[in-house]
Symmetry: none
Subunit: 234 residues, 4 copies
DNA sequence: GATGAATGAGAGTTCATTCAT
DNA sequence: CATGAATGAACTCTCATTCAT
C-alpha cells in the first residue's frame, strides 16, 4: 500500500488528480501566476497530459470553478433541513456552508478570490452560483417575515440588500475563520466549529431581522417604530 | 500659456498621474494582465520614467495599494462623527465608507479584488487596513454594549466575529451597489445614495446588536434569554 | 459477410490505406502542419500502428513520395508510344503526364509543392524523378534533331536547357489546369482533357523546336538563319 | 571600420536586417521549419525585437513575401525595353527576370517554393504577382500575333495556356540555373549569364510562336497547316 | 529629464514518439 | 494485433526591465 508513483492511471482518475492539483495551485498563486508547469508537477504528471485532458488553462480553470461551485452548492443544499422554520433552515444552511468552506479552503479561495477577479467566462460562473444562494436567502427572509406576521412590509429591494449583506457577512466570516486557522501553521489551533460560526452569524443576523419584521427601524436618533411604542427615543 | 502638452511637470505631480493611471489599469485588467506598457501609456509618459519613479511593478502596485488604503481609511475616519453614541458613529462611518467606495470604484476594486488575490506582499497591506477598520468597529460594538448596560457580557471572540461579519456585509453591499450601477449602462440608473446603503446596513445590524446587548441569543429553538419577555428597555 | 469495420486486414493493404490517407493529408495541410494524429485518423487506424508500419513521419513522407514518384513515372512510361517518331512519343508522354496529374491531384501536389520545399531527404527524391523525365525529354529532343537532319548542331547544354524549360512548362500547365478546375466550385467546369493540354504543349514546343532544328535562331533582331527566305540551307 | 557588433541601430535598418535574415532562413528551412529563434540569431538580434518590429511569424513571412515580390516585379519592369517589338520586350524582360532571380536566389526560393505551399494569406500574394507577369506575357503574345499578321487566330484560352507554359518554363530554368550554381559550392562554376538563359528561353519559345502565328499547328502526324502548303508532311 | 532600442526569462501550447496493457 | 496513457523537446509569443543616447 502507498502510491509508489501511480503510473498508467485511468483517465477519469487522472483528471480528478489534475483538478485537485489545480485548485491548490490556483488558490496559492492566483490564476495568472499559477503556471501549467507547476500544476502538472503538483498533479504528478507531465504538462502535455494536462493539455490532452483539459485543453487549455482557461478550460482547466473553468472546470475547476464549475466543480468547486457545484460541490459548494450541493453541500449547502444537502445541509438545509427541509420543512422547518425559516430560521432553522438558515442555520442549517450556514452550518453546511461553513463546514464545507472550512473543509475545502482552497476551493473556497478559488471561488471567492480568484474567479471573481478574472474576465467574463469565470466571473459569470461564480456570480450565478452566488445568485443562487442569495436567492435562497432572500426567500428565507421573506418566509421569516411571513412567519413573524410581518408588520409594515419589507420593500423587495430592501430584502435583496439584506440578503446580500447576509451572504457577504458569511463569506467574510468564512475567510476570517480559515485564515486564522491557516496562519497557525503549528497544527491544531482552536478552529471554531462550523456550528459556532453559524451561531455567530445567526446572532448577528436573526435578532436584527426579528426586529425588522416587527416593524422596527433604525434611524439617526436610534431605533424607532417598534411595534410597541416604547422603543422610540433612547 | 495653456498647457500644450504638460511638459516639465514636477515629480510629485507626475507620480500621482502615474498612480492614477495604474489604479485604473489594475482595476480594469487585474494585476498580472496589466502591463507596464499600458500603464505608462495611460499615464502619458514613457516606460523608463515609470521605473525611475516607482522602481518596479511590485513597488508600483504596493504604492497604489497603500495610497488607496490610506485614502479609504482617511475618508472613513473623517466621516465618523466624534463624541456621539456608538450607533451614530457607526452610521456616519458607514456613510463615509459607501460614499468613498462609490466615488472611487477603481481604487476599491484594486483593494477588494486585486490586492487580496496576489501573494503576501500585497495581501498583507490590505489585511492591515482591514484590521484597522475591524478594530474600530469592534470598539464601537464594545462601546454600544457598555452604553446599553450590557447584560451577560459578550465574549471578546464573539465581538470580533460580529465585527468581521459587519465589515464583510458592508463590503458585499458596496460591491453590489457598484455593480448594479455599472451594469445599468442605459444611463442614469437609480444609484442608491451612500446614506440609503448605510441605513440598510444599520437596519441589518443594529437592531440585532441591540438584542444581543440585551442578552438575547438565537438558538435552534428560536430567540431565547431575552432580558424580560418584552422588556426591551435600555 | 460484408466488411462491417474492416478488421484484421493484411499488412500490405493497411499500409496502402495509410499511404492514401497520408497523401491526402500532406497535400491538404503541408508536411509540417499535417499531424500524425490526423493521418492516423484519416486512415482509420491508431497512431501506434502507423509507427509500427511506417516508422516515423519522415519515413512516411519518404514512402509517400517514392510511391507517387514511381506511379507518375510509370504512368508516363506506359503512355509513351514506342517505336514512333520523337514528336509522337513526346505527345503521348505528355498526354500520360497530364492525365495522371489530373487523376491524382493530391499526389501531384505532394510531389510538386511539398516535397521540394522540405530539406534534403525529400527534395532529392523528387529531383531524381524529375531528372529521369528530363533525361527522357532530352533524348527525344536529340532524336528529333536527328530525324529532322539537324542543322548546325544543338549544344548539349542547350538541349538540356530546352528540356528543363519544356518540363517546367508542362508542370506549370498541369497546375494551372488543376487549379482552374478546383476553383470552379460551381459544378462542372470545362476541364480541358489531357489530350487538349498536351496539344497546347506540343503547339508551344514543337513548332518552335522544328524551327530550331532547322537552324533557325532567335536573336535580338528577330528570327534569323531561317532555312528559306534567306537561304539558310545546310 | 567594419561592423564590430552594430548595436543601437535605427529601426528602419534593423528591420531590413531582419527581413534579410528571414529570407535566407525561410529559403533554407521552409516556413514551418524555420524557427523565430534561428531568424533572430541570423539577424544578430534577440527574438523579442523581431516580434516588436514584425509582430508575428505570419506577419514576418507576409512582409518578406511582399518585399521580394515587389522587388522581382520592379526588376522585370525596369528591365523591359519600352517601345520595341514584342519579341525584344519579352527578351529584355526575361533577361531582367533571370538576372534578378540569379542575384537573389533566396528571395526567389521563398516566392517560388515556400509562399505557394502555405495557406491563403501567402499564396494569394504570390499568385497575384504571378498573374501580373502572366498578364504581361499574354499581352506580348497577342502583340506578337498582331505584328506577324497572325493567320487563323489564336483562341484567347490558347494564348493564356501559352503564357502559363512560358512562365513555367522560365521558372523552371531559373531554378535549374540556380541549383546548378549552388551545388558547385567550390566557388566559381560556369554560371550561365542571364543573357544566355534568356536566349535559351527565346529560342524555345519564340521560334515556335512564330510558326503558330503563321497558322502552323502540331498534330499527331506532325506540323500541319503551315502558311505555305509545303508543311503537310507524312 | 526623457526616451527609443534592446533583451533574459519564462509562459502557454503542440507534436512526434513510446510504453504497458 | 491494437490501443489508451504518457512525455521530452521545441515553438511562438509576451513582459518586466535596462541601457545609451
Amino acid at each position: 500500500m502507498g502510491a509508489v508513483k501511480s503510473k498508467r492511471v485511468p483517465r477519469a482518475v487522472r483528471e480528478q488528480q489534475m483538478l485537485d492539483a489545480a485548485v491548490l495551485t490556483f488558490a496559492r498563486r492566483g490564476y495568472a501566476a499559477a503556471s501549467m508547469d507547476e500544476i502538472a508537477e503538483a498533479a504528478g504528471v507531465s504538462k502535455p497530459l494536462v493539455y490532452l485532458y483539459l485543453n487549455s488553462k482557461e478550460d482547466l480553470f473553468s472546470t475547476v470553478i464549475r466543480r468547486e461551485s457545484e460541490a459548494l452548492v450541493a453541500a449547502v443544499a444537502a445541509a438545509v433541513e427541509p420543512g422547518v422554520t425559516a430560521d432553522r433552515q438558515l442555520w442549517s444552511g450556514l452550518k453546511g456552508f461553513f463546514a464545507h468552506t472550512a473543509a475545502h479552503p482552497a476551493g473556497w479561495a478559488v471561488l471567492h478570490q480568484q474567479a471573481r477577479t478574472h474576465g467574463e467566462p469565470f466571473a459569470r460562473e461564480v456570480a450565478m452560483m452566488r445568485a443562487e444562494i442569495v436567492a435562497f436567502v432572500t426567500e428565507l427572509i421573506g418566509a421569516a417575515a411571513k412567519e413573524a406576521g410581518c408588520v409594515g412590509e419589507l420593500a423587495e429591494r430592501e430584502v435583496a440588500g439584506l440578503a446580500h449583506a447576509l451572504v457577504g457577512a458569511a463569506e467574510s466570516l468564512a475567510e476570517w475563520v480559515n485564515v486564522r486557522t491557516d496562519e497557525g501553521a503549528s497544527g491544531e489551533r482552536e478552529h471554531p466549529s462550523a456550528k459556532d460560526t453559524a451561531s455567530t452569524m445567526m446572532n448577528f443576523v436573526w435578532a436584527g431581522l426579528g426586529r425588522l419584521t416587527e416593524g422596527g427601524r433604525w434611524a439617526p436618533g436610534g431605533l424607532v417604530g417598534q411595534q410597541s411604542a416604547s422603543g422610540a427615543r433612547r
